[in-house]
């Protein structure tokens, strides 16, 4: 493979069929024994249910944004297998350094639906206390760090965290998510380089979803693939069919075990597709041909997972109907509760800038509280 000098081809679903891409699920739904992660039936079913849940959440949150009830949503439609498969491969002590599209991983790791929705409404119970946009939550209990919008910054932090754990001889791996667009960022370079030089126990999980807002993946790099970037850093890398949850679990688990054994970081390029816009603020019709969506839709991760479960007798239409109704009710009930929670108290704007509130913020807080209220924010 002359990956260094080759020009990237236009990204298409057929790419995930290439020989260099790890696949587990065959088109008939059976698993290739060499890449089968051999997860239990119970885990397979609960992962499928979790995938359905985050897809339904996505649909519901987009609707809420269109109705003006929340300000924003950035979803994972089409990328559920890459996100849940990688999160499911983590061991309990491992940590996640997310991008902003992995709420499925946070929920899988234990963040409550209530907490997530409180962030969507920016209310008084929001873990981020209404200080960040929707989908910028935090959940330490899930070993999931705080989300920021700048691209790639979490990559170096994941390396530093793992480096710290390694120095304390704690058996812990960090996994950081980023899109293929982030491979153009400073911190991708810094993180890859520091991780490889110091052999930190880190998994670099690149969701190649084809798009960085409107810029296609072939315009992010002249390399033949994103995985090939690992070569120059001295880091092993692997491409995986990101819409094949079994293959994702397999390669992520291998990378985690490799890191935990002291062999350092791995770059994973998961080939998947962003089936929605970048976020609710984006309309992909302006730049994306519909036929690409149709083609990628044929490789939909939920559809493929369900086919596998059905042929193994683990799933059927009756179960699907029951699950859809149950999850729909759960989401609607949780939204009803979160929407009624008041906004954060005024004073909270000035807290947590520092551990204690210094004189200038005390002054500014008093001035704001005593002053007139802005219109249209309600609750005060």
């Amino acid at each position: 493979m002359n990956g260094i000098t080759a020009t990237a081809a236009k990204y298409s679903p057929s790419e995930s069929l290439n020989d260099d891409v790890v696949k587990a699920m065959r088109s008939d739904g059976t698993l290739d024994p060499s890449n089968d992660p051999r997860i239990s039936r119970e885990l397979a079913v609960s992962l499928y249910e979790a995938m359905v849940r985050i897809r339904m959440l996505d649909e519901r949150l987009v609707a809420l944004q269109r109705q003006g009830r929340i300000g924003f949503h950035i979803g994972s439609y089409g990328e559920e297998a890459a996100i849940l498969g990688s999160a499911a491969a983590l061991r309990p002590n491992d940590w996640l350094f997310p991008c902003y599209r992995e709420f499925g991983a946070a929920l899988w790791r234990g963040m409550s639906l209530e907490s997530y929705l409180n962030n969507m409404f920016g209310n008084a119970n929001d873990p981020a206390k209404g200080r960040q946009m929707p989908d910028h939550y935090t959940c330490k209990a899930a070993k999931f760090t705080s989300i920021s919008s700048p691209i790639g910054t979490q990559i170096t932090q994941a390396v530093g965290f793992a480096w710290g754990a390694k120095s304390q001889k704690e058996d812990l791996v960090t996994l950081t998510y980023f899109g293929e667009g982030a491979t153009s960022s400073n911190e991708f370079h810094n993180g890859m380089n520091f991780a490889a030089v110091f052999k930190t126990p880190t998994v670099m999980f690149c969701r190649n979803n084809g798009w960085a807002i409107s810029v296609p993946s072939e315009k992010q790099t002249a390399s033949a693939t994103f995985a090939v970037k690992g070569v120059a850093y001295g880091m092993p890398s692997v491409r995986v069919d990101g819409n094949d949850i079994f293959a994702v679990i397999k390669v992520t688990r291998d990378a985690i075990l490799r890191a935990a054994a002291g062999f350092g970081p791995t770059l994973i390029e998961a080939l998947t597709y962003r089936m929605s816009g970048h976020s609710t603020s984006d309309d992909p019709k302006a730049y994306r041909p519909d036929d690409a969506v149709v083609e990628w839709g044929k490789r939909d991760p939920l559809m493929r997972f369900r086919k596998h479960l059905e042929m193994n007798g683990l799933w059927n239409e009756a179960k699907q109907v029951e699950l859809d109704a149950r999850v729909d009710a759960e989401i609607r009930d949780a939204i009803t509760v979160a929407e009624k929670v008041a906004p954060p108290a005024l004073e909270t704007m000035f807290e947590d800038v520092y551990e204690s509130v210094p004189w200038h913020l005390r002054e500014q807080c008093a001035e704001m509280v005593a002053g007139p209220r802005a219109k249209g924010h309600g609750g005060h």
Binding site: F97, D126, P127, A128, K129, R131, Q132, H136, T138, C139, K140, T145, S146, S148, P150, T153, I155, T156, Q157, A158, V159, G160, F161, A162, W163, G164, A165, S167, Q168, T174, N186, E187, H189, N190, G191, N193, F194, V197, F198, E351, D352, V353, Y354, E355, P358, W359, H360
Partner: protein
Amino acid sequence: MPQMNMVQAINDGLRLEMRRDSRVVLLGEDVGKVGGVFRVTQGLFDEFGDSRVVDTPLSEGGIVGCAIGMALYGLVPVPEIQFSDFIFPAYDQIVSELAKYRYRSGGEYSCKVVIRTPVGGGIRGGHYHSQSPESLFIHVAGLKVVCPSNAYDAKGLLLASIRDPDPVLFFEPKRIYRAAKGDVPDGDYTVEIGKAAVVREGKDVTVIAWGAMLYEAIAAADEAAANGVDCEVLDLRTLWPVDIDAIVESVKKTGRVVVVHEAPKTCGFGAELVALINEKAFLHLEAPPMRVTGFDTPFPYTLEMEYLPLAHRILPAVMQTAQF
């Protein structure tokens, strides 16, 4: 009590804290075997080893980004940025991440990181080894900014910074790294963050300075005294959160104030100090507050002594303010 210069005092503080707290780690370019280009970390690599004193690849963003991750893990990283002129590749990590982590996570996480970095001119370092970017960090909500002027304060403020729960930018005035000598206690002590020092009492004009320019302010005050003007000189020590009480108290006494800093004038920290003085002590002022600063040009090489706000430029401002 031993005599130390600032380099020795900071080194002593780092060693003391690394012995006391095994979570403290140093990382940066050339901080390990060679002990830093200014030798501030000299000997620490030999005592604490390469897992606690780490020579990193040449990337400020990588250094600070990794330090943030280490802090989230529970270590106490003290990264060095070799010159504050080179801090800008790390600016995104400092501004968007380090400063915001506590706030944006609703207090769930925090980043206890002390970034040490040499600052200031007068060493024939040209544009890229001389700048004073403090106001670019003071402006960022969530950071504390410290700049000692002497060996005693350098050690005490460093220990206070490392034990502080918030991220601290620790600016070390490199022009006086070796020149500023003084008594430094061997053992443990701290200098409280947020407290200025009145280094010379006076009744006519308040001169506010910090870092290397403190000595220029004192020199100007000595000359002013010979001309019958009695200056009070304030060493801010902590730039943010600034000791507003000390400033207001002094300005209420003198009614006249001159602020001195190396950084360019426009939007320099002096602008904020003058605004605060106007807000809090306007009716006590007898003259317009004045600023003696670097100029709004890039930092020059050959003409650096004309650029810096040295005593020869401070004195006329003091006299003008006194005679207003």
